[in-house]
Symmetry: D2
Subunit: 354 residues, 4 copies
């Protein structure tokens, strides 16, 4: 069934492992290369990896030999779960060598010529790829995990009412810090009111995502965003308390309807990883909760609840996003699926067939 | 040493237990009556109580017999840790019977003639007691636990710059819900984005606390406050992410200095439970944290950190308050101490001496 | 596809909810009756239930009307998730009214004429049903959640080597206490070294399960079992540290092989809920862990690790069991499947067909 | 007041920090040297340390300059909180240079000439110091944290009844693994059923502690001990489920009395850190619990509960020990106090006085 051969860069890391999980049984993509650091290369994946997931490693993946991260992998394109410090040079090397690089790293997110992509939000931004003509391949990125939840919620409000200002306070899961990540003595029964770089990403990435593609690249949206980011003792699922000031007049019920009526612009593509609904609105005021609702839509649906008037701005509400699925590996896989449908991902199998 | 005999209403509950802890070794107050429901009355306190603290029950308290909650207790005044549903009638009954009632319950907090009190914030509001002339005794209340942290932080800003608007998102500890309180299956590794009634208290109580006492009662402060309240898996300590819009021009450094230079208006009273400093400002951006800093100043100091510009309002910062000490029992004891110094608490011992 | 209509008694409780989850998409059983207390009866299940699971309630179940727990349900048999205090009378009433009762409650587990059943351990014990001739229907039970894990591990050792004595210390998940169950202030960052009744169940239930069916009922196995039970802050999965004294000479490697070579006596039945393997042996000494391995075999596989010599008895090892799936709802469903294959569950549909 | 000047080796580590906490306000010992790795040396302690405690660093300690770990410190003796890999060479170097080394590291615990010491258990074992004549100074060690709790409980049973065999399963706190220690993704809502080296320490260290000092050194006690060690999501406090086989006939009540009647052999020394009672027996079967009882006796008392017959051995019970106080820094300080009283710690101040 699968017609595209995918490589995973950083396959033994926390994000790499999530790629393996999300791609398990994927109808279009087959993992043909697992690339990781020298320490892991040459060993079977099942031995090289410190598997942190709660599902078993697929048998055939477990036996695959890990290869070094060099741009000669046996695959049609690569997912990158590399950490930023190596991603910058490596992703560029792969793109130069002709590989489409579907990256989860932050290195190129804000680069003027690189799409920062959520298929339901800004599918046309893949047009930026044409500006990467100096590369044989190309680079496409997905946003920071907390950005994804916020931006999916902001999208229908931006379209319908216009956004002037956004206040967001996040309660972010431990898995967002990777592995080993946060020390248990810092995490257990505690909150850490700071996450390095996170507030800046929340301030800037949504502007590019909600921006407009022109001949000169992306014109960012003009929205003031203020973020306060906290780490809480939750395994999976970032919760975000959001308050918005809208350009048009709108009350809480209008905002609720905007969420409920939102339609994915890529629905017609029938992307395998796209959930039945991007947004799910809860009416129970105790919802959404990370532990109960993070797996909605296979972890690809963003939950929204507690929509009500804000005494300072206009309307406030709560957003929940699965940070390692929708906010990382799942989002990247959905990006790759979009690129397939847009004819921007070629499989060598196809070429050979031709 | 102790010259005032204190009764505790609701002595076996979570708040009542905290009163016992906080009053242990108090230089002015001696517990002479432990009152609780019929189920507990007649039994030694140590047997009647399901003690949830991590320090042992003081020996002599453990042996005291619990008495019913009737306004004939052997004491000079009472601390009330009653739940709101019984507090309304019982606190009134005690006040009618001549007891000063220092209450932690919410029943009378917003009553026009009842002081809502934080000694370092509005010590003059005890003047409202004079409006309770229909009672033999009187009622004084302390604010909701999350209100206390917020208001202590807002006080110097309100004084120096004036406040127009406040956005606050709270991450509240489990102990704030009492015992048994939140089910562990709801709490562990989870966030519950709703706490009944809490957002309304945060919207209204600070206005009374920061209001002005006139001949006609309290004129509330004119500040727009918007709150989002979450329950997080932390044992003690509410963390609050605050953003403020000021009336006067002020930047983050001005706000920091306002916190650092704040002086308690009741310092000259040398109240035993008043901490060396109401506010402690942290410069480490990972601080304050509930588990590490909640016990500052014996749980009576409010921690503040991450003071920085806000992209939407003016300045944002993080506040930490010990919800069961400063935010409940400790706050009430400090209120009683203020009333002693103001000559509003009479001890029968004194009377007998005279 | 489904040919048997199942009722669930106590459908809104924690165990009842797990029955709903486990039966979702079941090839043989269809839920046709959701019975719960008067408070819930008459309301749609989705409204009546405080759903604690992390998967959504199946749509059609959510809309079903809850009915009272009276023995006139529209179904071929019932699963009972009732608490023991009501189970005693109600399960008997249903059995008298002609319903097979597949119970998870403890009420009849040790009754001489009632099978206590784990299909892979003692499938022939269903023969006890014939001793319930005074009933129109019958009662079959599954063991206590911690008993299940222990007994599955003991089974091959009992068969191959004989067991003299067993020491077991359990680290049990919060979900085992139902909902609301353990208070979060007792659970978070804590261990409670006592679970009411649990140690006694571990001492007695395995003897019945590993006993022999004779004409006079079950002759229990003759094994001394000593248990120490602890509640730990884990959501799902009981971990048990076991040490055994064997009758025959055997070392750790023999014990490991016994686990690895164990074959289910009901494999030929192809029961839908039976996992590929009852026991999974881990060689990584850090495994099994509740959070990582509880979902093995859909929660129906028992994990075993750290097999090594014991300095006091003979061999020690660690066992992990999913307490609400294998140890409760999943175990009961597997029991029902066995009864179908043994011809002891009749469907009215079948009758009508005939 | 303080007459002995103490140095701390590894002062910035988790154990070193606990030494600072425990020594704060100590009547005999004053910290005069804080030694740590090259990375920290030369900086004020308050800046060099990542302080993980929940109390503030004492002001004067915070300002002290950290010095390198070289045997020329300005102090009368040293506490060693070094990790084993550096402790071996460094502790020897300090002892050779004339310093008494009171060590918490495991390096020399089982060395034939080095006392492994719990003052209430084997105070005479300091006699071993005389066998270290090749050193100018000497080395004394305290046991592994889980060993301490177990051995304190075994001591009265060993004295009164004799011990044949001991089964122990531990539930150990995260702080036992130091900092950063266990990753939060491994700890939260999970149990790890293995702690490297721990079971071996529990098997061997108690035998030395309960052994007899002869002219040829320690004759270890002859007890079979089998341990199973687990890491649980608790911050402080190791819980241990123990079962014992006694040489003399004794039932649970005899064992309880043995615990209750135990008298410390060093009581007459009035050591400042010795708690009022080494052992505290609980009758509430839900006790002891780590979160509630770990601070008993300032963290120096060992809690015991659930004393009852064992179906396999003789008697079983639960033990709780504060792993970083009694089980580490507090235990080492108590050792130093014993050495003072035994005349084995000389202060240069004394020398100068003479």
């Amino acid at each position: 069934m699968a017609r595209y051969r995918a490589g995973i860069l950083g396959a033994t890391g926390a994000v790499g492992q999530k790629f393996v999980e999300v791609l398990n049984g994927h109808p279009w993509f087959e993992i043909t290369a697992l690339a990781a650091s020298e320490r892991s290369a040459g060993r079977p994946y099942g031995e090289a990896v410190n598997w942190i997931g709660s599902t078993a490693i697929p048998e055939e993946i477990s036996r695959m030999e890990v290869v070094p991260v060099t741009p000669d992998l046996d695959c049609d394109f690569v997912f990158s779960g590399l950490t930023a410090n190596v991603a910058t040079s490596m992703e560029l090397a792969f793109a130069q060598a002709g590989y489409p690089v579907i990256s989860n790293a932050r290195s190129f997110r804000m680069h003027a010529d690189v799409p920062l992509l959520i298929p339901e939000v800004n599918p046309d931004h893949t047009g930026l790829i044409d500006r990467q003509s100096e590369l044989e391949g190309y680079i496409v990125t997905n946003p920071n995990c907390s950005t994804v939840g916020l931006t999916c919620a902001l999208k229908p409000l931006h379209d319908l009412f216009g956004l002037e200002a956004v206040q967001v306070t996040t309660l972010q899961a431990l898995s967002g810090a990777g592995y080993p990540g946060v020390a248990s003595l810092d995490a257990l029964g505690n909150v850490v009111p700071y996450i390095g770089g996170e507030e800046d990403k929340l301030r800037t990435e949504p502007l590019k995502l909600l921006g407009t593609l022109t001949q000169d690249g992306i014109t960012p949206a003009d929205i003031k965003i203020s973020a306060q980011c906290n780490r809480v003792p939750v395994l999976e699922g970032h919760l975000e308390c959001v308050s918005v000031k809208l350009k048009a007049q709108a009350v809480a019920d209008d905002v609720r309807r905007a969420f409920e009526l939102f339609e994915s612009p890529v629905r017609h593509y029938h992307l395998p990883t796209e959930p039945p609904s991007l947004l799910q609105v809860f009416t129970d005021e105790y919802f959404p909760q990370p532990r109960r609702h993070v797996e909605l839509g296979g972890g690809m649906t963003v939950g929204i609840g507690r929509i009500r008037p804000c005494e300072v701005l206009d309307v406030k509400f709560v957003v929940l996003v699965h940070n390692t699925v929708r906010g990382a590996a799942g989002g990247a896989v959905l990006n790759a699926e979009l690129l397939v449908r847009q004819g921007r991902l070629a499989s060598r199998l196809q070429e050979q067939t031709v």
